[in-house]
């Protein structure tokens, strides 16, 4: 399977990473090289094998449905690129 420039643009868009034409040009062969190499996994017969879900057997715990954290608004906003009136601020979303 070969990744072309259109596919690179599509996955870059899905991943929300802006790329220039030159970057797309350079990335396509790199991805093909890596994907071509990982394709050898296809030769392993896994018909009767379950996919791994946990490396060490461990049951998910339940805890009491109680508030254990909170009232830290200022700490949460401390590293925000832009915070206004106690909120994260972003460019206008609705026209």
């Amino acid at each position: 399977m070969s990744v072309d420039h259109i596919t690179v643009r599509k996955i870059a868009s899905l991943a929300r990473i802006a790329m220039t034409d030159a970057e797309v040009e350079a990335m396509a062969p790199e991805l093909n090289n890596i994907l071509g190499w990982i394709e050898q996994l296809g030769e392993v017969d896994t018909a009767a094998v379950e996919p791994m879900t946990a490396v060490i057997p461990n049951t998910l715990r339940l805890r009491d449905d109680a508030v254990t954290d909170g009232n830290v608004r200022d700490a949460v906003l401390k590293n925000a690129p832009q915070a206004e009136h106690g909120f994260f601020a972003v460019p206008k979303v609705i026209e």
Binding site: V3, I17, V44, P91
Partner: protein
Amino acid sequence: MTILTDLGIAALRDGVAKGEFSARDVALAFNDAVAGAKALNAFIVETPDHALAAADAADKDRASGTLKPLSGVPIGMKDLFATQGVQTTAASHMLEGFTPQYESTVSGNLWRAGAGMLGKLNLDQFAMGSSNETSFFGNVISPWRRNNGDTTALAPGGSSGGSSSAIAARIVPGATGTDTGGSIRQPAAFTGISGIKPTYGRCSRWGVVAFASSLDQAGPMARDVRDCAILLENMAGFDAKDATSLNLPVPNWEAGLSASLKGKKVGIPKEYRVDGMPAEIEALWEQGINWLKDAGAEIVDVSLPHTKYALPAYYIIAPAEASSNLARYDGVRYGLRDLPDGANLQDMYAATRAAGFGAEVKRRILIGTYVLSAGFYDAYYTQAQKVRTLIARDFDRAWESCDLLLTPTAPSAAFGLGEKSADPLAMYLNDVFTVPTSLAGLPAMSVPGGLDAQGLPLGLQIIGKALDEQSVLNAGLAIEERAGFAARPGKWW
């Protein structure tokens, strides 16, 4: 007179406890060593005040008879652990200036045990790399050089390359590392130090910048096995804030250390004899086998038939998890924001991530996005997770005939910076011996075995059963005592 920076964790702890020197003198000596080693670029941020404050507390605790397990011991903290009030970057531009308002569980455990912090150690960006050439803050340089007068800057390994370089240069006595596919063990091997990745779930991942959550595991790096045991005891432990944290008591690994391997069977996996492995590494492996025999172990041949598929499976699973984990860097809540004129929200995301991530991080996010995308998910991700089951099963079968495995840690000694960075695949192959263990979540350690003809360190890897760190440490100790590795890099920095 004792040179304090030549002492390891146990010697510093014991010397402070006995009053042979003060914790403050220790902190001052290491702060000076750190300040004098800028050429290694091992630190992103230096925190001499943190080390001094912990030292003063240790001296006070000694006076009042309330010493803690790591009182008087300053360490380096990989800059992947969130440290309250101290910039935490994961070596990325994305997190440059990010100052956590909270402390990671592992670093908090260490501070509570009395340790002080000398600074935040450089690494491969978001822990993605095997040579420390992907950091936004520049390459870390290994203190080692080839013995033929060649002054080529060598890779300290990665991703915990700041940790390995700083320990080998004796500017920190020990440090934290994290290991996703070999990021503790390979840098330890490259720099002639020891490092252990414990069983997945032993150390909390809470507050550790996430790369691939089903693989990421913190562990200690230090100059010898005992020091690793001491640090690991003070890093590990159950944490309700990490859903995959193991709710088990932390063994007293230091007290349990024993270099006798009587009654232990050590397996030698034939699939690790890869083509093109340097003869010196083959020879070191044979030497390691003889050392373990001498320690009382019985050697058996074992087979791990799916070994060759571990790396390709890893390079699906790790990028897939990374693409998901790194979706959080959106320019909204923390970290970098790049907002071009007139940009809308979507443009801001894309511009921020283009500016904030380095080339290798973008490459892995794109691979991860591709293998998880509609129509490809089963062919890549599900197939990789099935192969992962087979790899874990290989180890389970091996444990029917042995207790431990012995392999080389890496397929080569340290290479020069730039020698492999043009070819991502060649770089990935560095982790061929460490990745299978990561996929299976098993404990594994690298200890120095000797030097190659160029005078560069080579490491041996011991792999153990889940939760059996003690046997791994003991076999490491058996090798350490017989290898008598005392080589250290000459100071040029």
